[in-house]
Amino acid sequence: MTTQAQSTTERAGADAPLLEVRDLTVEFQGEDGPVPAVRGVSYALTPGEVLGIVGESGSGKSVSSLAVMGLLPATARVTGSVRLRGRDLLGLSDRELARIRGRKIAMIFQDPLSALTPVYSIGDQIAETVMIHQGASKADAFTRAVELLDAVGIPNAAQRAKAYPHEFSGGMRQRVMIAMSIANDPDVLIADEPTTALDVTIQAQVLELLDTAREITNAATIMITHDLGVVAGIADRILVMYAGKAVESGRVEPVYADPRMPYTIGLLGSVPRLDRPGQPLTPIEGSPPNVARLPKGCPFVARCPVRISLCETVEPDLEPTAGGGRWAACHRSEEIELGRIHGAPVFPLPEIATLREELPREQRTAVLQVDNLAKRYAITKGAVLRRKIGTITAVDGISFDIREGEALGLVGESGCGKTTTIMQILELTPPEQGSVVVLGQDVGSLNSQQRKQLRRDVQVVFQDPMASLDPRLPVGDLIDEPLRSFGVPADKRRARVRELLSLVGLSPEHANRYPADFSGGQRQRIGIARALALEPKLLVLDEPVSALDVSIQAGVLNLLEDLKVRLGLSYLFVAHDLSVVRHIADRVAVMYLGRLVEVGAAGHVFERPTHPYTQALLSAVPIPDPVAERQRTRILVHGDLPSPANLPSGCRFRSRCPLFAELPSDQQQLCIDVDPQLESRGGDLASACHWARERQVLPGA
């Protein structure tokens, strides 16, 4: 590992490493003995360099950087060395470390709401770090805080500095965090999942800002993320972590192009890609090992399709492979090339049913027809005498239909009305405006008995598989429940539960276990089995994979794809991850502030989007390919989603529209005055923009 540090140093020329981490291990005290969270991680950073640390939850990526900062609880045992300009930080007292934290090394955390103290104003919190390290007076520090807020793009900085964290949106809070982190011009910037909690459009803004911040401070940056696309876009080097260990590292381009460790290959193969819609996903079977009880050999052995007997007994070290400063921890790394081993792919392609009746769309029956649906919420004031002071239009007259065997992806930023739409549909009650027709039956005309019968045909899978399964019921009872409520006889129910469990890739013997005994991916499979119990025609999927790690997500996506074909299901698929939608949806509806702005066949929407919002959304999604990703030009939308209580006149998107900003003022007037309606753009594509024009935003599409 020493040699690795040296090799990076050589590559960077005469610069001595700014930050050098060697053989870092972290152990926590567990119930039965120490639990190793990080097991011997080494890396070195030169000024201005960006290192991406990638791994799934529990891989030790965040713990390793908290160890660098000295921010782990006192019960954690940290060994190895962390040298900042040659000075070892491990073993320094809290007081000495406090002088380094925030001044030499700064950190940006994942969730900017919980990472800011709720009871102090934003300006005070930034000023605090200036006062601690620069000894500035309170007034000077506050002035500096305002400058910093201005620099990170907070409009009205002087006034906003007096506001509190809860008054900021997620993206704005992350800007505040960045302002705080660069306040003392640090040498090293550690960003721990800085964009995970944000929408793609905001993620693009924040990533751009991080890049600017790095340029201003010339800080070496550690970017911790689970998103391979983000790393592809900004990192120079990548370090892949698995079960507390670095399993592959090297420069980003060769690692992505020619990964040598099966885990890296699996990760890259399990990410759905916006630019390669047809490419099947190769999930990594199983789930990461419990670090408290690691197997003797390679920690990845149980999930590795190319394991040999040596892997069971000897854990491979991180060793040089493939030249060019590449390292991998795999006994077979030299045999693997371009994701293949002796000509065969390391991860064989999964079998997914593809047989489809290719009836044209118009001839298939409509499973769901939504026409001019609207949902408004009154804003009220007063405790005793409530009076209405305004309305929030969550969904404002949207129309779409889903045909048999079709998956419609509903996409948009959080707050655009996706969830309201599906909840209104699932309620099966007459909407306050418009109509919802399920399998030819208008829900407005149903009595309660008919409504109950119709529920059989419309089922839902929720986002969080843990929260949507009662932890006190065995899995068999959970899946059984819909059958019981429709009075299916007991013997049939038992058989059906077994059938369903095997349908979703679980073993029928699992019926007696409880949800806590399953991993996230398995729990989501249970959720799917429950939804399928009554043989529905339409499955509403509300962010079904967003709570899962990528390697797990791929398996669930493949299952959904397979079930759709085999059972002839229709999906209403709600997701914020456009790559996932690209992978699974046949048609796509893009939603913005309660309206559909672009609807059409997935191929059309993704390859030749005509609405500037769709274009911006698509261009904001990072692609896990360093070469392609760095050649893309981003179309950034400005600012945050406006409040639905206070919408701009005319086109709702104009306040953030990149196209509007470029238009001459006479053309702008039309956007200001007239609210555009959905119009056909040829083929199965319609968009709501006065100046719609095709624009290709994905490479190689």
Binding site: A98, G102, F109, S114, P118
Partner: protein, 327 residues
């Protein structure tokens, strides 16, 4: 924010009227002052009983609403009426309120401050010896009823006094009757009388608050913003006090304020055991004496205090938490 507090205050005023009215009605229905007179030996003539009861405003033959209106009208003019034996409630109310408040104010403030402190220390030293000691202490006082701890304190004082051969600690009443020791002397005498009853209140309060404060502090200690504060360059200790404690106090505000309000009559046991003639004792006595007016008066006094506490908690909350202030 001022408007918000004013609105709350108006709400509280309405609640006080409701609470007092209900207390008066229930007391009138449940208590029988007539029995007091008719039970005398020899029984006074019926006409005398009636006229006496009417004079005190507690005759069950007069319409209830009329009696209530008369009483509440008096209250609005600062006259709480007569006790069942014809004494003035006003005179006694003032004296007893002072006795109770002296006891409770000090006990509660001590309990709150020390409780918060003990809770914070417990949380910071989680699972260490200090924490375990405070936990044992808290559970002891939470688990033992106050009449037991009070008697225990009394017993302790007795032992101390015996050992010293002189009365070091007083445990009866709030002053030595007939003491003539000048201003300083009698001030010291009163403080001395305060020690044990105050302890009996404060110990229970410390035990109770420290558990809540410990939990709330532990929540905060695991929070991301505390990590951010340290990442900015604060030492752990400073981060804990500046960012942690301030946030951890917010959920305590309501608890602290309301528990003071309920103590006002809740200290009955302490008052009885240490022979302090306060509000709690008065309430119990008035019920056994079938005294409607006193019962209603004490109920009103309690309502006022509980709602004042509520108001106080609103103010503290607003001061501590900007999220309330803004919306």
């Amino acid at each position: 924010m001022g408007r918000f507090l004013l609105k709350r205050l108006a709400n509280y005023a309405v609640l006080i009227v409701v609470a007092t009215t209900m207390a008066y009605m229930i007391a009138s229905l449940a208590l029988h002052p007539r029995a007091r007179y008719e039970g005398r030996n020899p029984p006074p003539p019926a006409a005398v009983v009636d006229s006496t009861l009417t004079a005190y405003g507690v005759n069950d033959k007069d319409p209830l609403v009329g009696r209530y209106v008369h009483w509440i009208g008096g209250v609005l003019h600062g006259d709480f009426g007569k006790t069942v034996t014809g004494g003035s409630i006003n005179a006694e109310l003032g004296a007893r309120a002072l006795v109770s408040l002296r006891l409770l104010l000090i006990g509660s403030i001590l309990g709150a401050v020390l409780g918060v402190l003990v809770g914070v220390v417990s949380a910071v030293k989680q699972y260490r010896l200090t924490d375990r000691f405070f936990t044992a202490f808290s559970f002891f006082f939470i688990a033992t009823p106050v009449f037991f701890t009070a008697v225990l304190l009394k017993f302790g004082a007795l032992t101390v006094n015996d050992a010293a051969g002189t009365t070091l600690l007083n445990y009866v009443g709030y002053a030595t009757p007939g003491l003539d020791a000048g201003f300083l002397g009698s001030a010291w005498d009163q403080v001395n009388h305060l020690v044990l009853p105050t302890l009996s209140i404060a110990l229970a309060q410390i035990a109770y608050f420290s558990r809540y404060q410990r939990n709330s502090m532990l929540d905060v200690m695991g929070s991301d913003f505390l990590r951010t504060a340290q990442a900015k360059g604060l030492t752990r200790r400073r981060a804990l006090f500046k960012h942690g404690l301030r946030t951890a106090l917010i959920p305590m505000a309501t608890l602290l304020a309301y528990s003071f309000g309920t103590l006002v009559v809740g200290a009955t046991f302490t008052e009885k055991i240490f022979a302090w003639h306060g509000m709690g004792e008065w309430l119990v006595d008035s019920i056994t004496n079938n005294d409607i007016n006193v019962t209603a008066t004490v109920a009103m006094f309690t309502a006022v205090f509980i709602l004042l506490s509520g108001f106080l908690s609103d103010v503290i909350y607003a001061v501590l938490d900007p999220r309330v202030r803004v919306s």
